[in-house]
């Protein structure tokens, strides 16, 4: 089971309690009526869909109900860092520190603990 750290509940909880909420840190245009169709398309429809480090919104929908932000690696599915929704995009350095700290810990995977590795 994948555990996700909720910055509001201040603990790791099962992925079952969470919902993905799309790319994070997308600023709504100040005056949306003034922008061109191309700019609207960029803002409203187009997403980066990064391979690797990505910033996403997540919601602890079956827990505290709050939206928060997460830096996640889309290749390994590893959550590098989660932080409260009102905080600015956390710099890559902080994410890399979190990643390094996580790598120092023994990472439990389903294959190691419960799966049949043969």
């Amino acid at each position: 089971m994948l555990l996700i750290h909720c910055p509001y509940c201040e603990e790791d909880r099962s992925e079952l309690e969470f919902r993905w909420g799309g790319e994070a840190h997308i600023a709504r245009p100040e005056n949306i009526a003034a922008i061109s169709d191309e700019e609207f398309t960029e803002f409203f429809f187009l997403r980066n869909n990064e391979k690797g480090l990505t910033y996403e919104r997540w919601r602890h929908i079956h827990g505290c109900g709050r939206f928060f932000n997460a830096a996640r690696d889309t290749v390994s599915d590893k959550f590098l860092l989660t932080y409260k929704a009102d905080l600015p995009k956390q710099p890559i350095a902080a994410v890399e520190e979190a990643l390094a700290a996580a790598q120092d810990k023994v990472v439990e995977t389903w294959e190691q603990t419960e799966g049949d590795a043969r």
């Binding site: 089971m1 509001y8 509940c9 201040e10 603990e11 909880r13 099962s14 079952l16 309690e17 079956h62 827990g63 505290c64 109900g65 709050r66």
Partner: protein, 189 residues
């Protein structure tokens, strides 16, 4: 409860009327009716609401406070479930606080199942992913979470006793899954 007087009214049937179950290590009971309030407020208004409700709304995640049959459960940073098993009057008390808040009476939306016995945690873990060890989920701990495919609010009332708050239309399902969990808990006990 309203006074019926001489009026002839339909008999009220509780969502889990007649349900009973469990196993050699788990007892399952439908909780008696209770008054319930879904309460939301900003941090600066918590003190006034606490004073008016006569119970200190908890601000620490996963904690609850219980005073004289009235329990306030932390659900989120600005959200509480308040349960009164004796008197009710919750909505009026919230209104009397005079501060900005959102309060919804959910007394009849929820019902509760009381799960007790040495296998209580194991029975709940049959459908709930939370760590229910006493170190992580001590007496008084509470959380909104999942039980199988339904959302519940879980409160630990004693070392081997829990209150499972569930929406009334999901209560049949929750009771059934708890009964299955109780059987499994007896097998592994």
């Amino acid at each position: 409860m309203a006074e019926l007087g001489s009026h002839h009214l339909a008999t009220r049937t509780l969502p889990l009327a007649g349900h009973h179950g469990g196993s050699s290590v788990v007892r399952l009971e439908a909780a008696p009716p209770a008054a319930r309030l879904s309460l939301r407020a900003r941090a600066e208004d918590v003190a006034a609401l606490s004073a008016s409700l006569g119970i200190s709304l908890p601000v620490k995640p996963k904690t609850s406070v219980c005073v004289n049959g009235r329990t306030a459960l932390w659900l989120g940073p600005d959200e509480w479930l308040v349960i009164d098993e004796d008197h009710g009057g919750l909505l009026q008390a919230a209104t009397d606080s005079g501060v900005l808040h959102s309060a919804t009476d959910v007394s009849h939306r929820n019902t509760a199942i009381l799960v007790s016995g040495p296998g209580a945690a194991a029975a709940i873990n049959g459908g709930c992913p939370q760590d229910l060890s006493l170190a992580v989920f001590p007496v008084g701990a509470c959380s909104r979470t999942l039980f199988g495919k339904v959302e519940i609010v879980l409160l630990r009332t004693a070392e081997d006793a829990f209150r499972v708050e569930v929406w009334r239309s999901f209560s049949d399902y929750a009771f059934g899954l708890l009964a299955a969990g109780a059987q499994d808990a007896a097998l592994s006990a």
